[in-house]
Symmetry: C2
Subunit: 213 residues, 2 copies
């Protein structure tokens, strides 16, 4: 049982205002040995207190385009003239070490990852209803009314593609939500499709026994 199994690649998405960032942070704090958060590469400039290799891998445009050319990114996108992407090497190392690796990316990127790695687990976080979402966006107090409506409009677009995710996680309380995410990921290790090695060994052993060996 203690043989090191390969980790699972997980995409964690959710509406802006769903609380997904907080859930993610708590999950990593609670189970630091189980999970690794993928660190994105970007060409945008570091902000105060951001460190290379912690918040992001900061790259020049040339470096980033070289990573694209060499197929070193799982997915990438261009936002407001800056590249953002998921470097493959770090993710691969963590998966090999048996850690479940979490990508916190939006829905477009999520579906690209799933297409390329079909056994990616896609989780989507949502509050109980749209009223709560709106209240949370307003409650932040950091956004103008216009931006709140932009976010809600974006959520409305995103909702159209939620069906392509595997699990829907309702964030009522952070604590329950973290437990639920952890439990879903741990159970995922029990999927038949992720236990082919065990099944093959069992088949061999039973074949021997049924021959009376």
């Amino acid at each position: 049982m203690s043989q090191k199994k390969r980790g699972i690649l997980i995409v964690f998405s959710g509406f802006s205002g769903s609380g997904k960032g907080t859930v993610m942070k708590e999950l990593l704090l609670c189970y630091p040995d189980r999970y690794a958060l993928s660190i994105s590469a970007t060409t945008r400039k570091p902000r105060a207190l951001e460190e290379d290799g912690r918040e992001y891998f900061f790259k020049t445009k040339e470096q980033f385009e070289e990573m694209i050319a060499k197929n070193e990114l799982i997915e990438y996108a261009l936002y407001v003239e800056n590249y953002y992407g998921t470097p493959k090497e770090y993710v691969e190392k963590q998966l090999e070490a048996g850690k479940d690796v979490i990508l916190e990316i939006e829905i477009q990127g999520a579906l690209k990852v799933k297409q390329r790695f079909p056994d990616t687990l896609l989780l989507f976080v949502t509050p109980q209803n749209a009223d709560i979402l709106k209240e949370r966006l307003i409650g932040r107090g950091t956004e103008s009314e216009e931006v709140v409506y932009q976010r809600l409009s974006q959520a409305s677009e995103e909702a159209l593609r939620v069906e392509e995710y595997d699990y829907l996680i309702i964030n009522d309380t952070i604590e329950d939500c973290v437990k639920e995410v952890h439990s879903i990921i741990q159970n995922e290790h029990r999927r038949v499709s992720r236990n082919q090695e065990f099944i093959n060994r069992m088949k061999e052993e039973l074949k021997r026994f049924s021959k009376g060996e």
Copy 2:
């Protein structure tokens, strides 16, 4: 949230000697409000202490064949000149009432059920390895050596179709195994495909908000 959701149909199978009967019994004892065990119909004669509607629904051959003709069985099979089958009505009532219904049937029946109801959840219980299976079968002390080898040979056949199940549950201790089965079933309720109503409602609400309503 408290709207009554339809239950999930679950098939619980496992090698003879896997301990699946004990796990099942414990699960139902621990969570009597969540689960209902489907009761099979059979044409075999009741044994001492067996009650109609508890262990089985006891039927005559004519009654059983009428149930087949009227499509009142989810699946059925003939073993040693007796029919065994799963009556649809009881299962349907329990699912409607929001209970998750468990069928404890073998692999052939399981796959028939899955074919007919594609959103059935298929769980397969196994011990850690074939040695343990053999020891358990011998340890029962109720079977001759010949029967033990028959069982192992049957397990060897069954292992060939384990890949068609959804989850593989390793029964190390009954207590952990019961917890794991419960957790897998509960998480199954979070599958996107089982939350279409929630998603549709969310879409409607967000559409209204993004129009500034």
